[in-house]
Amino acid sequence: MLNAKIPAGPLESKWTDYKGHCKLVNPANKRKLEVIIVGTGLAGASAAASLGELGYKVKAFCFQDSPRRAHSIAAQGGINAAKNYQNDGDSVFRLFYDTIKGGDYRAREANVHRLAEVSANIIDQCVAQGVPFAREYGGLLSNRSFGGTQVQRTFYAAGQTGQQLLIGAYQALERQVALGNVKMYSRHEMLEIVKIDGKARGIIARDLVSGKLERHFGHAVLLCSGGYGNVFYLSTNAMGSNVTAAWKAHKQGALFGNPCFTQIHPTCIPVSGDHQSKLTLMSESLRNDGRIWVPKKQNDTRKATDIPEEERDYYLERRYPAFGNLVPRDVASRAAKERCDAGYGVGSSKQAVYLDYASAIERYGRTEANKQGKSNAGMEEIISMGKEVVKEKYGNLFDMYEKITGENPYEVPMRIYPAVHYTMGGLWVDYELQTTVPGLYALGEANFSDHGANRLGASALMQGLADGYFVIPYTIGNYLADEIYSKAIATDHPAFAEAEKAVNDRIHQLMNIKGKQTVESFHKRLGKIMWDKCGMARNEQGLKQAIAEIQALKKEFWSDVRIPGEIEQMNPELDKANRVADFIELGELMCIDALNRNESCGGHFREESQTEEGEALRDDANFMYVAAWEFKGEHAWELHKEALNYDVIKPSQRNYK
């Protein structure tokens, strides 16, 4: 039943062949076709700009006050591209191979190869837009390393790469708004998909300022609404990031792919107390130069700077000499958890490890001294020069660390711990990024397609922009070419009225509960269940418990939540309640998926399935498939499997030693 529509032919010519043969829409017809885009992060903004440029009539929606604030803005470290500017052996094939291997052989070959192919175009496009990437003194683009690779292919703008890329896409989007090709609806939240004759034909959105519901028609609907890491309550996602758009699509028939695949990022600032509302990432790029360690002695209470070199355990360098501190995220996170669980953690909570810049500062200082011809520079001068270099590379991250913790990371090692960061799972899409509902597409983090069971660093920005700039402009034509005879449907059509009524009923139901507990308190409880039982390590018993607990929590939510204020006014608590209600349902499905996948792969670690050394142990014979779940009603889902065929790469036990 699941047809991924992967083009025939050799892997490296699939995309070229597809582009050469897909249907086209002529410019006069494009002007008559309307496309709705939900979300304006990298995927949504790039898609809206590109489709606007092509001449489609685009309506773009975001819940923020401006498309420039979508959470892509917070991405720090960089964006990968197979440019091989460093002459270090990179190629489209290597980027493809690293991504498949990094994803622990749970991604589709054809999609990932296409991603690697278009990666170079993304850099070119962004440079042309004026994205100020870091440059070398010769004026050419600079690169750095990221986890899970042995080449330098990551392009960056200090620790603010996501910001710069998003501003590039945002400016391209605003240009189309000015030209009248895109109509922008900010402070709007999509609350339902409207289907007519089985096809996605529009949405119901809530104007978050007036509280009024609106109907919008589109010949196609693109969901670019990001990931669902906030199901864990604490994550590196923005406070508003949510699953609602994707979840509504799921309940309207779009299958949800690999929902349990969650990325726990190894380098985040540890939790400081119950008041914590979100967690902050310290870019993976810091693992380029920083060294991760814990004391060799359990429960060592000495200050980091008092622990001599020989009493430190650089456990990543010890366990994985080939990749050292640059092992993929899932591996680094589990290794940190292992050390902390064994009693070697640091800080007051003992749930942290050190990320130490002392040796990098000294190394850079010496290089700088050499450059300046200061062969007899003293240690103090070397350290001071080294700090300057580190400041230029990572200054904003160090400042952020100091603001949050009150400690100066130039002087003492940073304390870090893994935190929820990204969700590889998402709406199931075919090669054309279309979900199982015709006319409904999912782009960027909202889909499941490219990262398998673990995403490599600097690949999310690449995928979001690949989908928006270079994939959807082709694949959507293949669908819309057959829609040129479909006139715009008036929004007084019964399907719109029905969808709006359903949304309205649900909002009234929520407001009328008038219970005692706040939305936030339910969200926190859901997050705790998810983190404890469906987090970095999962087992059958815990997952079964979690499912029961979530079902009970759902009942309690729908009978005791308290939402203040009114419906037809600005009401952030109501917005949050809508989102948390969806997170609760999603949480259950994630646990069901994790329970079904009785193997470990990438970020999904089932304690029952590990090697003697504690590494993730895949079970290719039984689980070499995408788990795509169909919504069947309250607490009920049906599993569909998309078999993964590896024609080019031979799956093996991942080895970073």
Partner: protein, 253 residues
């Protein structure tokens, strides 16, 4: 770092919508940890208000890591509060001590009307960008990224201007509610790059015209914007903007 707890008095601007008249209301929050962020302290206040059957305080916030530019509180007379080079979300409670009274208001500017409580409408910034804050290059038109070497210093200065998060603190800090720092950051970002050259003149003329239309005030070089900018955007960008504007005006056809 020593941690401590504190009780605080909050004087918060409450305004139901942009039609109604606002007023300050007094609240008390207790047992606030010095490790909390300022917005987490507001979370505590809001949970308390909801439990007491009152309307929680509405404010803009999203990433809570100082980059999205959504948060916008005017704290004790300063946009984003007492710390230098900081956003409200990254302000932490160790900036305050037990017994303090903290006054919190929205951004105040004609071009930023209040939506509710501490939330304002900053869509004027988007419209200024629409007037020319971009390079006109359709997807697919680009040449190789390394085909156009750019001096590192220029690229770095361009980046320093492009770091603007569009929060509007510069406008809130300015006695004239001028948007010159915001505008100049965008003009500089693009004028410093060769890719931005073809549209250099029209860009600055159109963006300035839009800024005036939105009702932002004039710049009188007091530097309050630079002093308050969370990303430390330099006021020298305003000098560059004036230069660009003058050059464009003089050579206009």
């Amino acid at each position: 770092m020593e941690h401590y707890h504190m009780n605080l008095n909050l004087k918060v601007w409450r305004q139901k919508n942009n039609q109604s008249k606002g007023e300050f209301k007094l609240y008390r929050v207790e047992n606030i940890s010095s490790e909390m962020s300022f917005l987490e302290m507001f979370d505590v206040l809001n949970e308390q208000l909801i439990r007491d059957g009152e309307d929680p305080v509405t404010f803009d916030h999203d990433c809570r890591e100082g980059i999205c530019g959504a948060c916008s509180m005017y704290i004790n007379g300063k946009p984003h509060g007492p710390w230098q080079a900081n956003t409200t979300c990254q302000l932490h409670m160790r900036a305050f001590k037990d017994g303090d009274t903290i006054v919190v208001e929205p951004w105040r500017a004609n071009a930023f009307p209040v939506i509710k409580d501490l939330m304002v409408d900053r869509s004027a910034f988007d419209r200024i960008i629409q007037a020319g804050g971009y390079i006109s290059v359709n997807t697919g038109n680009a040449v190789d990224g390394n085909a156009l070497p750019i001096e590192k210093d220029k690229a770095d200065s361009s980046f320093a201007a492009a770091m603007c998060i569009g929060c509007g603190a510069c406008v809130a800090a300015c006695k004239n509610s001028s948007a010159m720092l915001f505008l100049s950051a965008k003009v500089s970002h693009l004028a410093l790059l060769p890719q931005g050259a073809p549209e250099r003149k029209t860009r600055v003329m159109n963006m300035v015209a839009q800024m005036d239309k939105e009702g932002f005030g004039a710049c009188t070089n007091t530097g309050a914007c630079e002093a308050t900018c969370p990303k430390e955007i330099s006021i020298s960008n305003i000098a560059r903007l004036n230069q660009e504007y003058l050059m464009a005006s003089l050579t206009a056809e």
